[in-house]
Amino acid sequence: MADLLIELFSEEIPARMQARASDDLKRMITTALKDAGLSFDGAYAYATPRRLALHVTGVPTTTPDVSEERRGPRADAPEKAIEGFLRGAGVAREDLVEREDKKGTFLYAVIEKRGQAAADVIAQALTDTVRNFPWAKSQRWGTGTLRWVRPLHSILCLFDGSVVDMEIDGIKAGDSTRGHRFMAPEEFSVTGFTDYKQKLLDHKIILDAGRRETLIRDTAQTLASAAGLELVEDAGLIAEVAGLVEWPVPMIGSFSADFLDVPEEVLILTMKKDQKYLVTRDPSTGRLANRFIFTANIEPSDDGSAVTGGNERVIAARLSDAQFFYEQDLKGKLEDNLPALKDIVFHKELGTVAERVERISRLAQAFAKNTETASEKEAARAAGLCKADLVSSMVYEFPEVQGVMGRYYAKAQGESDAVADAIRDHYAPLGPNDACPSAPVSVAVALAEKLDTLVGFFGIDQKPTGSKDPYALRRAALGVIRLITENKIRLSLKQVIGRADFLYMIDALQDVDLSIYDHLRGDAEASMPDQDGKIKIVDAYFEEVAEFDVSKDAGFKRYQKRSQGRNELVKGLLSFFGDRLKVQQRDKGVRHDLIDAVFAKGDDDLVRILNRVSALSAFLETEDGANLLAGYKRAANILKIEEKKDGTSYDKPVDIGRLAAIEAETLSGALAKAKEAAENALISEDFEGAMAALSSLRAPIDAFFDQVKVNDDDPEVRANQLALLSEIRTAVNTVADFGLIEG
C-alpha cells in the first residue's frame, strides 16, 4: 500500500472556485482509481490561492490481476470461424476450453490479464483530469492550447515515494513546488505528504483552508476584543478571504467616525464587498464601529503600519464617495426622482418603470382596501415612491442597497414608518428563507410589485423554461404565495390576476386616447372583479370612433393581444402558482398529490386551499381515510374498466327503487347524506366536518363491496349498480379530487 500526493501549482485561482475545484480533483482522481480496480483508504483535497492538492492514502501499487473469459463459436464451427476467434482473443488453439450448455458445446478463451502498475493508472488519470477539468471559466496562455483557470506552472505527483512519469503540454510532473510568493518564493522538493505539509508551513503556506479560516476568525476576534469591540461574524466572507491568502495575517484599521452618519448598510457593503473587510460593532450600543479588520497575505517587514495605512486610505476614499452620494441624495426629495423613472425601460414590451409604479400603486391600494388592515393612502404613497431610489446617486453606485436607501430617504423627508418600511420591504421575500413582510402596508406593496411582474411577463409569453428564469418569476410567485399564506390574506387569485392584467391593457391604450385611459384606470380599482364588463366598454368605445384605424396602432394591438389572451393568462398563472405551491409545501412535508387533488376543485384562495389540504392530509392518515381512499379507487377502477368496455358513462341517476341488494340501498342513502353534509361543511369552510362526512361512507362502501357483485348477470341491475359507483366518485370528489391522490 502506498500514498499518492498531487499538487497542481498555478497562478492565483479565484477564491470562489477553490473549494469546488479541490472537490472536483478528488472526485475525478478517485473515480479513475476505482474504475481501474484500485482501492484506497482515504482521499483528502486541499486548496490555496495558488495550488490544488490531493492526498490519497493506502493505494495498492498494482491493479489486481484479472481473468477474463470470452465465449467463442461452437466447437463444431468451421475452422475459419475458430481461427478468427483466436486472432481476436489473442490466444492459441490449445488454450481454448470447451463448455456445454443448453444450446450446445462452445469454445471459450480464458485470458489472464496481469495487473497494471498503479503509477501508470495515476499518470493517465491525472492527465485526463487536467485536460477535462470542469472549471466554470478557463483560459489558454502563451502559445499553448491547454486550458486551466489561470496559467498552470507545475505539477507535483508522487506515488509510493517516486515521481510519477507524466507530462502535459510541456509540464513534466516532479517532486517540487514553491513557497509563499513574497516571503519564501524558492523552489523545494518533498518526499511525501507529511513532508509536503511541513515544508509548506516552513515556507509560509497553510495548506488547509479550514485552518486558515480558523486563524482569521480567532485573530480577528482577539483584535476586536482588544479594541473593546465585537466582531460581526461572517462565515462566507471569512471563507472568501481564506481563499485570497496563503498566510493570513489579520490586522485592524480604522476610519473617521464622521462616516458613521452614512447608513450602515452602505458602510458594510463598501467594506465587505469591495474590500473584503470584517466589520465590528460597539457592544454597548450595537452600532457599527469605525474599526475594521482586514487580512494581509504577508508579515510585513515593518510593524504593519504601511499596510494598515494603505488600507485606511483606500477605505477613507471609498467612504467619502459614499458620503458624498448620500448627502447629495438628501438634498432632494424622493418625488424629485420620479420623472427620471419615465426614462427607465422596465421591459421593452412592458413599458417604463414610471408606468409600472403607477400600476403597482393602484394594485397596492386595492389590496389595502381589500384586507382592511392597511391604510389605502399609505399603500398608495409607499407604492408611488417604492422605486424612486433607483435613480438616486447611492443606488446608482451600490445597486444592492435599493429599497434600503429608499427607506432612509423616506424617513428623512418625514414619511411615516409604515410607508418607509414598505419602500424597503417591497422587494421581499427574496426567497424561501428571506424574511416575509407582515406589516400591512408592506404586504400590500410587496404583493402588488410581484403580481405586476408575473402578469406582465406571462402576458408577453416570457415564462420560465427549464433552468432559465431571467426575470426571476419563480421567486416572484413564491413571494406571492408566502405573502398570502403567511399573512393569511383571503383573496381570489383569479381576480387579482385579472385586475393586474387589466392595468396592463389600459397602459397599452394610453397613447391611443388619454381620456379613456384615465377613466378606465380609475375604474380598474372601483370594480375589481368585473374585467369583462370593462373590456366591453373599451371595445364599444373603439367601435364608436370608427374613423380611428385601430389596426395600425401598436398600443391597440398590445391591448388586443392581452384582451384576447386573458383567459390563457389566468389559466397559465394559476397553474404556475400551483406548481410553486407544491414545491414550497414539499419542503414542509406536504404531499404534492394532495395539493393537486384540492387544486383540481378550482379554488383560487391559497389560504383556503392549504386549510383543505391539511384537513385532507390528516383524514388520510386515519384508518377511515385510508379505507375510504381504497374504496374510492376500487369504485373508480371498476367504472373505468366497465365504462370503457361499454363505451358509455354511468354518471347518471341511480334508480333507488331498483337496487336489489340491501347494502346497495344503504350505500345510496349514505351517499346522499354524506354529500349534502360535505357540501354544507365546505360552504362554512369546516374542512374537518367535510372529512367527517366522508368517513361515514367507509362502512357502507366496504359492506357494499363485500356483499354485492357489481357486475350482476342482470344487465339492468348491473347498470344501476355502476351508477351507484359513479355516485361514490361524485360524493367523495366533492371534497377533493380523490382520483389524483396517490396510494
Binding site: 497562478e11 490561492p49 496559467p151 504577508i298 504593519g304 504601511a306 499596510v307 483606500v314
Partner: protein, 299 residues
C-alpha cells in the same frame, strides 16, 4: 513580525514624482524588450483601444509594446471637485504576446522599480475578468491590489473582435494616477508631485478638469455629436469596403468616444444604449475581420 532596524520614516525613500514613475516604467519595460510607443492621437476610453493592443492581439505574430495612453471618460468628470475621479487620466499599458511564463514576476518587478517594496506592502491578485462589449473582447485575469487598493488590471486576452487569440497576449494596465497616489501617499490626485520640482498634478490638470467637465456635461453639442457618430460609422463601413482596416479602426475609435460623450450628456436612454454599443462592436469586429483577411490568417 520581523524586526525593522530603521524607523518607518527613515526607511521610506523619497517618493517618486508622477513623471519619473512613467519614465521608470518605460525604461523597465524597454529593458524587457518592449517597443516603447507614444500615445495614440485619438480620444479613447481605455488604453486597450490603442491599435498596438487591440489589433496586435490578433493573428500569430509575436509582439511586445508599452506606452502611456491618455483616457477620456466623460461621465467620470467632477469639475475638479472629487479627489479621485477624473474625466481625463493616464493609463500605462503593456502588451506581451505571447504571454511569457514569468509575466507575474515581470509585473512585480515593475512595481519594485517604482518603489513598491513587496516585503512592506500586501500585493494581491484578486479575480477580475475583463470584457469590452464595444470591442467584442474578453479575457481572464485579476485586479492587482496593493494594501487594498486596485493599482493595475492584469488580463490574459482570450478573444478580440470575436476572434480567438492565438497566441494569447498578456495585458497590463496601470492606473497611473492611482498608483502615484499610492506611492506618494497622497489622498488628493491634484496634490500629486508631478515633476519633483514644484509642479503638482493640479497645476497641470485642475483647470482642464473644470472646463472639460463643463464641456462634457453642459456644452457638447449633441446634434453635432449624433451627426459625428453617424459619419464615423459610415466612413468606417466605406473604409472596410476599400479593405483599409487601419483607418477604418480609427473611425471605430472615434464613434466609441462620440458615444461616450453622448452618454455623458444624458441623451441616450437605457434601451438605446445597448443598440449604440452594438453598433460600435459591429465596426470593431468588422475591422478585426478585415485584418484577418488582409493577412490571410485562419480564424
Amino acid at each position: 513580525m520581523t524586526q525593522s532596524s530603521a524607523t518607518p520614516e527613515a526607511a521610506k525613500p523619497a517618493a517618486m514624482p508622477f513623471q519619473k514613475m512613467i519614465l521608470t516604467l518605460q525604461s523597465y519595460w524597454a529593458d524587457q524588450g518592449c517597443a516603447i510607443l507614444q500615445p495614440y492621437d485619438l480620444e479613447m476610453g481605455a488604453g486597450t483601444f490603442h491599435p498596438a493592443t487591440t489589433l496586435r492581439a490578433l493573428g500569430p505574430d509575436h509582439w511586445k509594446a508599452a506606452y502611456v495612453q491618455p483616457c477620456r471618460r466623460p461621465t467620470d468628470g467632477r469639475y475638479g471637485e472629487n479627489p479621485n475621479r477624473l474625466q481625463h487620466y493616464y493609463q500605462f499599458q503593456v502588451i506581451l504576446k505571447p504571454s511569457p511564463a514569468n509575466m507575474q514576476e515581470l509585473y512585480l518587478g515593475s512595481l519594485k522599480a517604482i518603489g513598491i517594496d513587496a516585503a512592506l506592502h500586501d500585493i494581491r491578485f484578486v479575480e477580475d475578468d475583463w470584457e469590452s462589449p464595444t470591442l467584442g473582447a474578453w479575457g481572464l485575469g485579476w485586479e492587482v491590489w496593493c494594501d487594498g487598493m486596485e493599482v493595475s488590471q492584469y488580463t490574459y486576452f482570450q478573444q478580440v473582435g470575436g476572434f480567438d487569440c492565438k497566441p494569447v497576449s498578456g495585458e497590463l494596465t496601470y492606473g497611473l494616477e492611482r498608483l502615484a497616489m499610492f506611492v506618494q501617499g497622497v489622498d488628493n490626485v491634484y496634490d500629486l508631485d508631478f515633476n519633483g520640482a514644484g509642479i503638482s498634478y493640479g497645476d497641470v490638470y485642475l483647470e482642464n478638469e473644470k472646463q472639460q467637465s463643463a464641456y462634457n456635461f453642459e456644452h457638447a453639442d449633441t446634434e453635432k455629436l449624433f451627426e459625428d457618430f453617424r459619419k464615423a460609422q459610415d466612413e468606417c463601413a466605406k473604409l472596410l469596403e476599400a479593405k483599409l482596416p487601419l483607418p477604418a479602426y480609427e473611425q471605430c475609435i472615434k464613434s466609441s468616444h462620440t458615444f461616450n460623450l453622448l452618454d455623458a450628456r444624458g441623451v441616450i436612454s437605457v434601451t438605446e444604449r445597448q443598440a449604440y454599443i452594438g453598433r460600435v462592436r459591429d465596426l470593431a469586429k468588422g475591422c478585426c475581420k478585415a485584418i484577418y483577411e488582409k493577412n490571410g490568417w485562419e480564424a
